[in-house]
């Protein structure tokens, strides 16, 4: 019998497909397949790390193709400074190629050649579009480096040259100029304002039209966003007023990259004092931003959320405008988002809305935000939890007694008390503050004892007592304060009496 059995076992292993032994084995070890895949990838990674050196040495075929007759740096200098137009072009092209290779472009070396002023000169050679283009590209790439590199380009006189090239009849040249100007604007407020003072905005905005190709428009949008970017100082209000209508238009575009960069522009503009927020609110784009906040595309959702988050840091009216635009129903989704960064940003916005008057708090409650808030406190990413704690504190500070009761009924106490175990003193202080606020509300209702029991039941008293030994003096005092006020004297006596 065992022999027969052995045979049938053996026959089972005859597979219908003759492919290879591996296919046969898959049956037996099915469960582990996923695991093995992962392991194999890892092994490939390991292999990869070993051979990386040899990989780097050999240039890619594409690079090889492009450097058929590479010029030396000396040859480039000579030709660029020479008077032979075709050699100038050849050398500029060579420089551009060196600057656009993937790995370690020699920015410093090129700058040290001292050819930037010549390249800037070439920008105005309207008789030779190819030369203009190559020079523009080369300068773009130099300006893409560190501040030093960008400065070399600006000091070579590139700003006016590029601005006038914006209106070049050749689209690829004007696009390249947009790109270069974007790099200069992105360097910081100084060059940004230098550009604005050179009147970059009108010709730039003139490029935006319904027929502008998407790729070009992306570059324009990005450059516009860089003109809105950076503080200390903020971009001039006049410039912002010029830019906003076009940005508002771009927010409606179909292309997600354009929408994303427009959102970022708005987020920069709202990241400031209330009067700057007001300018944005006045354009009426908040409903669109709220809509974009719910986009499935991370690259759109993130900046839209940030912009709205900035708006609700503003005045009560500005916050109300955001609420009116429908921000509250969108927030639960974002509070429950898988990405911690989104959770955090959403909780931050929520905390700012909770800091408003009780009508706004009521709207917040009505829109069902307490539940996701409690969930976030319970299970969220720690940074998001910290923001959520702030939301609770703000709500307990500004909310009516009824609103606070509603918060407690949503189950906020348990996760809130659990967070007392956090390492961060600031967070602990905010929680203790919130607890004090809860007790104040309880006092008004005559429910202090009930709250005491609730806190004890949830092991909160234990945690608060433990905080009396906390290193941070403020924490210690806040904890002591709560205990003396609500958990000493009468309550204890009462408990003793019961025993």
């Amino acid at each position: 019998m065992p022999v027969v059995h052995e045979h049938s076992e053996r026959m089972k292993k005859f597979k219908n497909k003759g492919k290879d032994t591996a296919a046969l084995r898959r049956q037996r070890v099915e469960v582990n397949i996923e695991l093995r895949k992962a392991k194999k990838d890892e092994q490939i990674l390991k292999r990869r790390s070993i051979s990386i050196v040899s990989l780097e040495k050999s240039p890619s075929p594409a690079e090889e193709k492009n450097t058929i007759a590479p010029l030396s740096l000396e040859e480039i200098v000579e030709a660029v400074n020479g008077s032979n137009t075709s050699l100038q072009l050849q050398a500029t092209q060579a420089a551009r190629r060196i600057l656009s290779r993937q790995k370690d472009p020699p920015l410093n070396q090129i700058i040290e050649l001292g050819i930037i002023p010549r390249l800037v000169e070439f920008l105005s050679r309207t008789d030779n579009a190819t030369l203009q283009f190559e020079a523009a590209w080369a300068l773009t790439n130099i300006a893409s480096g560190t501040s030093e590199h960008t400065r070399a380009v600006v000091e070579g006189g590139a700003i006016p040259a590029f601005i006038s090239l914006l209106s070049s009849p050749h689209m690829h040249i004007s696009e390249q100029s947009v790109w270069a100007l974007g790099n200069i604007a992105g360097d910081g407020p100084l060059y940004r304002d230098a550009l604005i003072n050179c009147n970059v905005i009108p010709p730039l905005l003139a490029l935006v039209s319904p027929v502008t190709p998407v790729g070009f428009l992306r570059n324009i949008t990005w450059t516009l966003s860089n003109l809105c970017r950076n503080k200390n100082p903020y971009p001039p209000l006049q410039a912002v007023r010029q830019l906003l209508p076009v940005i508002t238009c771009l927010l409606e575009h179909k292309d997600k990259d354009i929408v994303s960069d427009s959102c970022w522009a708005v987020s920069y503009l709202t990241d400031g004092s209330n009067d700057r927020i007001q300018i944005v609110v006045d354009t009426g784009i908040l409903p669109r931003l709220v809509e974009l906040m719910g986009s499935p595309e991370m690259i759109i959702m993130t900046p839209a959320l940030r912009a709205i988050g900035n708006v609700v840091t503003g005045t009560d009216e500005q916050t109300q405008a955001a609420i009116d635009a429908g921000v509250l129903p969108v927030l639960p989704l974002l509070l429950r988002h898988t990405k911690p960064a989104i959770q955090k940003e959403a909780a931050w916005a929520l905390s700012n809305i909770a800091a408003g008057p009780c009508q706004q708090i009521q709207q917040l409650i009505t829109c069902g935000l307490l539940q996701p808030l409690v969930e976030l406190l319970d299970k969220g990413d720690f940074k998001a939890q910290k923001e959520a704690v702030w939301a609770v504190a703000n709500l307990t500070t500004g909310g009516t007694v009824e609103q606070v009761v509603e918060l407690v009924q949503s189950g906020v106490l348990k996760p809130l008390l659990n967070l007392l175990l956090a390492k961060d003193s600031k967070t602990i202080l905010v929680i203790l503050d919130s607890i004090s606020n809860l007790f104040l509300a309880a006092e008004k209702l005559g429910e202090t004892e009930r709250l005491c029991l609730l806190v004890e039941e949830l092991d909160g008293l234990e945690k608060i007592e433990a905080l009396q030994t906390h290193d941070n003096n403020m924490v210690y005092r806040a904890a002591l304060n709560i205990i003396e006020k609500y958990f000493s004297g009468e309550v204890r006596e009462l408990l003793l009496l019961l025993i």
């Binding site: 005859f14 290879d20 070890v29 092994q43 594409a62 790109w179 974007g182 992105g186």
Partner: protein
């Protein structure tokens, strides 16, 4: 990865560990195993030996032992498949692979951590370059990553060389690269062949560590001779390796070189010989050996009356009386034996057998025991595939392994007897296949199928015996056929394997030509044919050109093979 310093990266690593030895069922593997065992014995290494006859057994053995062992040594198995893929070892498990099967799987070659290949340095491997077959997937990752996260846009951006054009160019490049990769891998994996004998690799290790003994050297010789007898390597490779071993032989055996009286009961002496390639002739009669050696039998066409006549003429030419020739070689007249090799060679030349003598080695031990390396190979191989069932599956393996030790003369003699039976059976089967025209040309290859009920057919359900038969048959067929085209064809041979289950064992061998590179494309072809016809095949053997197949699927499988190779 390839081990460059066998001692440091292999032996020193395992010497302090518990080791599992997985040894394939071929004579070279046994010899390599013997050498390693001897080393292990010197250094008190704890090891467990598990014979494995195919991938299934290999895998089972691994699964059974993977919890107790972290260090595995594979002998003559494992190199030509992706071991990590089929065995899924834990990360702290290490595979040391000493295997003559080629081509070596590229993942085994380029895995830097767990798979260590013990391969003779200088072996021509032609492994594709890493960059030609592995490629980082960063390009795609970059693109998709950019899109998924919502981080702030960069404040400055560099414009790269023709971004859009480059992206499509990159995509095109990638497609081209993939096509090229397929081509490279196809070229690399297309042919199966064998590299330096594992026994020789192990002997090298022993030698490097100055732990080589004459016994080990003999096993290395037998390992190499096995490759030659099984026709696994080219004549060129054989002669080169013989040269390598000859240096070791003179180093180990120079002491008694010119002393006639050096024989003693425990002496052991290895000598280089330019001897007759007549199978087992010193333990048989010259006549029987002539009849049952493939070389002489094929060249003289002994299956025909004509051929038998030629044999008589041949013997007459040498001036050897039939009576002498037919009695045991040991009992032949000393006077006849004196210049026997030269005499036979001279006559053989006249009969078109120019290569009747080959470079080989002999071993003497005790007073009367003398063997040629090929004697040992035949004996050991026969023991391993003995069909006389006794005890568990591993009995044959252990017996064969033991027969390699000097102390086990009785087993060796038992093996010699079996080998003679095997050679006779092969010769008779070859004769009957040729006489009844069982070898048919299928176009791209010759095909011969043994029928159930033929004498000795059971013997040929074993892979090594079937391969040997195939090779002898092809040689004889090439000598017998007048069709010039057929002389250049490879041969596929099938034999009943398990009647109850209705399966056949099938082996494909490369063409029998003077300049044959011994490379075999049937492994891949079998896989493809099985794949395209959904034939029920089992690719279990370490040689991919040996498969098991359901008898009912045979015709569609062959049809697919014909159209594939035409």
């Amino acid at each position: 990865m390839f081990v460059t310093d066998c001692r440091r990266e292999f032996y020193d690593v395992i010497v302090s560990q518990r080791v599992l030895l997985l040894v394939a069922s071929d004579v070279d593997a046994l010899c390599a195993c013997k050498i390693l065992q001897a080393l292990f014995q010197c250094d008190h290494v704890q090891y467990t030996l598990v014979p494995v006859s195919g991938w299934q057994e290999l895998e089972t053995a691994f699964l059974e032992h993977k919890d107790q062992f972290k260090y595995f040594v594979f002998i003559n198995c494992g190199a030509n498949v992706d071991l990590l893929e089929i065995l899924q070892p834990e990360e702290d498990t290490y595979f040391f692979v000493c295997d003559s099967h080629r081509p070596i799987n590229v993942v085994n070659v380029y895995n830097e951590t767990q798979v260590k290949l013990l391969v003779k340095q200088g072996d021509d491997l032609d492994v594709p370059a890493y960059d030609d077959i592995f490629r980082d997937e960063e390009d795609e990752e970059e693109l998709s990553e950019d899109e998924s996260d919502g981080s702030e846009p960069s404040d400055k951006r560099r414009r790269f060389e023709e971004e859009v054009i480059e992206r499509t160019a990159r995509r095109r490049q990638r497609r081209e690269w993939e096509a090229r990769r397929r081509e490279i891998l196809f070229d690399y994996e297309q042919y199966e062949y064998h590299g330096t004998s594992s026994a020789m690799v192990m002997f090298d290790l022993a030698w490097i560590m100055s732990k080589d003994l004459n016994d080990m050297l003999w096993w290395a010789i037998v390992g190499l001779t096995d490759q030659w007898v099984q026709d696994k390597i080219t004549q060129m490779k054989y002669v080169t390796d013989i040269g390598v071993l000859q240096r070791h032989v003179s180093r180990h055996n120079h002491r008694n070189e010119d002393e006639e009286n050096s024989l003693s009961i425990d002496c052991m002496r290895i000598a280089f010989e330019y001897d007759l390639r007549l199978a087992l002739y010193q333990h048989w009669s010259l006549y029987e050996s002539l009849c049952n050696t493939s070389y002489t039998s094929a060249n003289l066409k002994l299956w025909s009356v004509q051929g038998q006549k030629r044999l008589q003429e041949f013997l007459a030419d040498m001036g050897l009386p039939l009576k002498q020739v037919k009695q045991k070689f040991n009992s032949m007249d000393m006077s006849l034996k004196e210049n026997l090799r030269e005499m036979i060679e001279e006559s053989a030349n006249k009969f078109g057998m120019k290569d009747l003598r080959v470079q080989t080695f002999s071993i003497h031990f005790g007073f009367k025991n003398k063997f040629l390396a090929s004697d040992i190979v035949y004996a050991t191989a026969s023991l391993m595939e003995s069909i006389e069932k006794e005890g568990p599956e591993t009995t044959n393996f252990i017996k064969a392994l033991d027969s390699l030790s000097r102390g086990n003369l009785d087993k060796l003699h038992q093996g010699l007897d079996l080998a003679k039976k095997q050679l006779c059976a092969i010769q008779q089967t070859v004769a009957s296949c040729i006489c009844t025209n069982l070898v048919i040309s299928q176009g791209p290859f010759l095909y011969c199928s043994l029928m159930e009920g033929m004498p000795d057919v059971k013997l040929f359900s074993k892979p090594v015996s079937l391969c040997l038969l195939s090779k002898y048959l092809l040689k004889s067929f090439v000598c017998s056929t007048k069709n010039k085209r057929c002389k250049l064809l490879p041969l596929i041979m099938a034999a009943p394997m398990d009647v109850e289950q209705g399966t056949v064992i099938m082996v494909g061998i490369p063409p029998e030509t003077e300049s044959s590179d011994k490379k075999n494309f049937f492994g891949r072809a079998f896989e493809k044919a099985a794949d395209s016809t959904n034939s029920r095949t089992l690719h279990n053997h370490f040689d991919m050109s040996i498969i098991e197949l359901k008898t009912e699927d045979r015709s569609k499988f062959l049809d697919a093979l014909i159209s594939l190779l035409s």
